[in-house]
């Protein structure tokens, strides 16, 4: 029997705000332990929370980017549990009136793992259940005989995005998370750096016989902190569950932990210990009416990566693969847009950016914002090619020099005498010379072998040391041969 996987994700995203969710402590990664705390985020008795409106706006912005319905009124609730990372014994979250409901995200083809491009299913749309806002908890460090707690992270605005069980493979989950991360970066909602724990993910996964409507027994894998880890954990878990069912075993609904080093998942807590969070409305906080400010947030919705890619392909005639590379990095796509501003040959610019600029940046270990070549300067280089002053292969050479020295294209072209020869008289002379020296080929051509002209074009180019305008050489030779 063949089995298929059914996967849903709960994605936790730390929001990019200056301060925490309910107090004015700085929302900052990497400060010395317990130096960004106050009575509110330490959970001291009597301290009262006040919501950061920037955080609420960012959740609504995310909802608008993902096509969610924004609740006209939302509120906060207490989720009760006991754990040292949450000393007031409840986490402020949203239960029955979250900020966003519904919506979804179309997975981008480029978001699939490089080694799984064959598994791409075009246009997969993953529906969302909801997006709600809560506070992050403190960070725990586990030592041999004790645990240590740092409250700098406690109270960081944390958004939870819950998907429908629409995902069908580890590769799809990987791709969904990659596209989602890109959208979050485009919106400036989060830095979404998984190494800093700014994007974390719980995976719900079950398997069922292909064709069966009913869902299988669900297993939750907690707190994944890398997109490739999610893929590996899901692959392991799907295999484990499928083997169990094939062997006639039964699965139990449980929470498991992914151990990266062991490459396996391990059971954490069983169903008998199922949590009862006793949600109730947070009496310290008033409800939020979104209508009062939603239009302001609506104006902040950016063009999303997929729409931008389509525009690059349709309006700027960029190839699909180049467009995919460009939009995968918002800063690179911005850079490209500046470079094509006054250029008609937008394809030429895209090629230089994707092939040459990225190669040089990679070799220099630099990001696009640190490029020694300004976008306008690259545009000027492509304009020289378009005007026929240099060939496209010379343009690549000039670009390397521009990157090395930061100098303008025109300056380098003049200095190196690279200027392409487009003078009809000069090209005519070169052509005559080649035609005289290649009588046998000329005979072949006259006998009907028109393809042999290419050989002659090559010889004229060689004779001109690569400077002759190839299109003109081709035209002149054709004319002289009466073709």
């Amino acid at each position: 029997m063949n089995y298929e996987a059914v996967i849903g994700l709960e994605v936790h995203v730390q929001l990019r705000t200056r301060t925490k969710m309910f107090c004015g402590c700085e929302n900052e990664f990497g400060a010395a332990p317990n130096t960004r705390t106050c009575p509110v985020c330490l959970g001291l008795p009597g301290a009262l929370p006040t919501p950061n409106h920037a955080a609420i706006h960012l959740v609504a912005l995310t909802g608008l980017m993902l096509g969610c319905e924004i609740a006209p009124r939302c509120k906060f609730d207490r989720k009760s549990y006991f754990y040292p990372d949450m000393p007031k014994n409840y986490q402020i979250s949203q239960y029955d009136l979250p900020t966003c409901r519904g919506g979804g995200l179309e997975i981008m083809r480029e978001s699939y793992p490089k080694d799984a491009q064959k598994k791409v299913v075009a246009g997969r749309y993953i529906r969302l259940v909801r997006i709600h806002l809560e506070e992050d908890v403190a960070k725990s460090f586990h030592f041999e005989t004790a645990s240590g707690i740092d409250f700098n992270r406690a109270g960081t605005p944390l958004m939870e995005i819950v998907t429908m069980p629409d995902l069908r493979s580890p590769e799809e989950a990987f791709a969904f998370l990659s596209t989602l991360k890109l959208v979050l970066l485009y919106g400036g909602v989060s830095d979404a750096d998984m190494e800093k724990g700014q994007l974390r993910c719980d995976c719900n996964v079950s398997v069922r016989p292909v064709g069966q409507e009913e869902l299988g027994t669900k297993v939750e894998i907690k707190n994944m902190n890398s997109i490739s880890g999610v893929r590996r954990a899901l692959a392991y878990e799907i295999e484990r569950q499928t083997e169990m069912l094939r062997g006639g075993g039964r699965l139990t609904q449980e929470t498991r932990r992914w151990d990266e080093a062991a490459g396996a998942t391990f059971a954490m807590r069983g169903k008998e210990m199922a949590h009862d969070y006793r949600y109730f409305p947070e009496p310290d906080l008033l409800p939020v009416d979104t209508a009062a400010w939603l239009d302001d947030v609506r104006r902040r919705v950016p063009e999303l990566p997929l729409a931008r890619k389509r525009r690059f392909v349709e309006m700027l005639k960029v190839s699909d693969s180049n467009a995919g590379v460009l939009v995968a990095d918002c800063a690179l796509a911005d850079w490209f847009e500046k470079a094509v501003k006054d250029v008609t040959n937008t394809q030429g610019v895209a090629n230089l950016v994707v092939n040459d600029l990225l190669r040089e940046l990679g070799a220099a270990g630099k990001g696009v914002t640190e490029s020694p070549v300004a976008p306008e300067a690259l545009g000027a280089l492509v304009a020289l090619t378009d005007a026929g002053r240099i060939s496209s292969s010379q343009a690549k050479e000039v670009f390397v020099e521009m990157f090395r020295t930061g100098r303008a294209a025109a300056e380098i072209v003049t200095e190196r005498g690279l200027e392409q020869v487009s003078d009809a008289g000069a090209i005519g002379k070169l052509c005559d010379e080649v035609l005289e020296g290649n009588a046998p080929i000329v005979v072949q051509i006259r006998a009907g072998n028109a393809k042999a002209v290419g050989n002659l074009v090559g010889q004229v180019m060689k004779l001109s040391k690569g400077k002759a305008n190839p299109a003109m050489v081709n035209a002149v030779l054709h004319r002289k041969l009466g073709l």
């Binding site: 705000t17 200056r18 301060t19 107090c23 004015g24 402590c25 700085e26 010395a32 332990p33 317990n34 130096t35 960004r36 705390t37 106050c38 009575p39 330490l42 006040t50 919501p51 950061n52 409106h53 920037a54 955080a55 609420i56 009124r73 509120k75 009760s80 006991f82 754990y83 040292p84 009136l97 725990s140 460090f141 586990h142 030592f143 005989t145 004790a146 645990s147 240590g148 707690i149 740092d150 409250f151 932990r257 954490m268 807590r269 009862d276 006793r278 409305p281 009496p283 906080l285 008033l286 409800p287 939020v288 009416d289 009062a292």
Partner: protein, 96 residues
């Protein structure tokens, strides 16, 4: 919604991390059942068409600007910690 008028005091106490004596459990059993019965009366009311109350105070959008305020020093934050090390609150080892 199912409406049990009995309540499992032991379970509720466990959720709240309370250790009750047998006598306390019996006493609270009676008191909490009374409260549950009272809630049952409210549940019998017809509330169709009444908007749920999010808060007893009729106000909304009481928020603050995203502007930083001073934090406590690490010394102040840790002042009540029974045990500390390297700027961390030390607690019994958490096993998950």
């Amino acid at each position: 919604m199912s409406a049990p008028s009995s309540i499992d005091v032991g379970y509720v106490a466990q959720l709240a991390r309370l250790k009750l004596s047998e006598e306390e459990t019996r006493r609270f059993q009676g008191q909490l059942e009374q409260i549950v019965r009272y809630i049952e009366q409210i549940r019998r009311l017809d509330v169709a068409g009444i908007e749920p109350t999010a808060h007893a105070v009729d106000r909304s959008n009481v928020t603050r600007d995203d502007a930083a305020a001073p934090s406590l020093s690490s010394e102040e934050a840790l002042a009540n910690a029974p045990v500390r090390a390297n700027g961390l609150f030390m607690v019994p080892k958490v096993i998950e």
